[in-house]
Symmetry: C2
């Protein structure tokens, strides 16, 4: 026997989930049911836990916090020969940014802007600079957020914010991501 439940979360009207529950079936019996096999192509069953329909995408960027933005820009432009952008002040995010183009993805050099810059504390602990976060695209950030909350991944804000690229983003707690600050961004 199997039951397919289609749920629309009224608190998140843009998020639709298909929950697949398989009860009373051995793994062997599951493989003999063509209808369940076909469904599993789009709704993978992982250890009995239903998976939502959002998908992880490409690495958008690696963010590097730097104490000296001109020096860091010169490293990537003049020493390593990469294409770099002009310095972009993002006062609403408390950072100056320089984008380093690597062809398949970007590095983002970050330097504090203003007294309440979110990277000031990081640079106090890492005076030479260092990798601050990675950002990975997702195809449906609202679905991802609901799913990650259900999977007990702590999020750093209650709702998605508009990120440096003008798209909704959410940060996941580093303690739930192997010490890495992971940002997800609507593709």
């Amino acid at each position: 026997m199997f039951v397919v439940i289609i749920v629309q979360d009224l608190m998140h009207p843009y998020c639709h989930f298909i929950s697949l529950e398989v009860t009373g079936l051995s793994r062997c019996a599951l493989h003999t049911l063509p209808s369940v096999r076909a469904l599993s192509l789009t709704v993978p069953v992982s250890q009995g836990v239903p998976r939502s329909l959002w998908k992880l995408g490409r690495l958008s960027h690696v963010a590097i916090a730097v104490p000296d933005l001109e020096k860091a820009t010169a490293l990537y432009r003049d020493v390593l020969g990469a294409q770099v952008s002009a310095t972009v002040p993002l006062p609403e995010h408390g950072v100056y940014t320089v984008f380093v183009e690597l062809g398949n993805t970007k590095l983002e050099l970050l330097h504090p802007l203003g007294e309440k810059s979110p990277i000031a504390g990081f640079l106090q602990k890492n005076k030479a600079g260092g990798m601050h976060h990675i950002c990975i695209e997702v195809d449906d950030i609202n679905a991802a957020i609901v799913d990650l909350k259900e999977k007990k991944i702590r999020l750093l804000s209650p709702e998605p914010q508009i990120g440096a690229h003008g798209k909704p983003v959410m940060f996941l707690h580093p303690k739930d991501c192997d010490g890495v600050l992971v940002e997800i961004e609507q593709a």
Copy 2:
């Protein structure tokens, strides 16, 4: 006047350099010389310093050192839904590795293997794990190494080593790269 010098470094027989020296010319005069303009398409002149012919390429991977490889693999596979490889032991590098496929690039989860693992010290300082290095491809690692030495970037080994992907690699000193351990890899 301009002088083009083609140099083959006998110590590095695979490295050929074209040095372009422009003397006695103002920036304005340079722009009026079509022959120099044409040459500058392949040999960019940056503030009077000749540039060698190696090029930076794509981001090969972001390496993340993790204290619990199974837990980290489960995060990317089961929670974030990425494709991950089986665990690959690399005893010659002192690490176990799991590759996380992101479409345009990879994450590489690293866990110590053996007593002399190069990431053991990192995990002692960063017990929860963290971003260990970034790896960027180059089209000519020997040329890059000679050029980076000339530009006073310290390298972590005297010669390139064979990296986890079976290709020559070299690590650049984090103190010369804004606190980031940067690996370059022959594309």
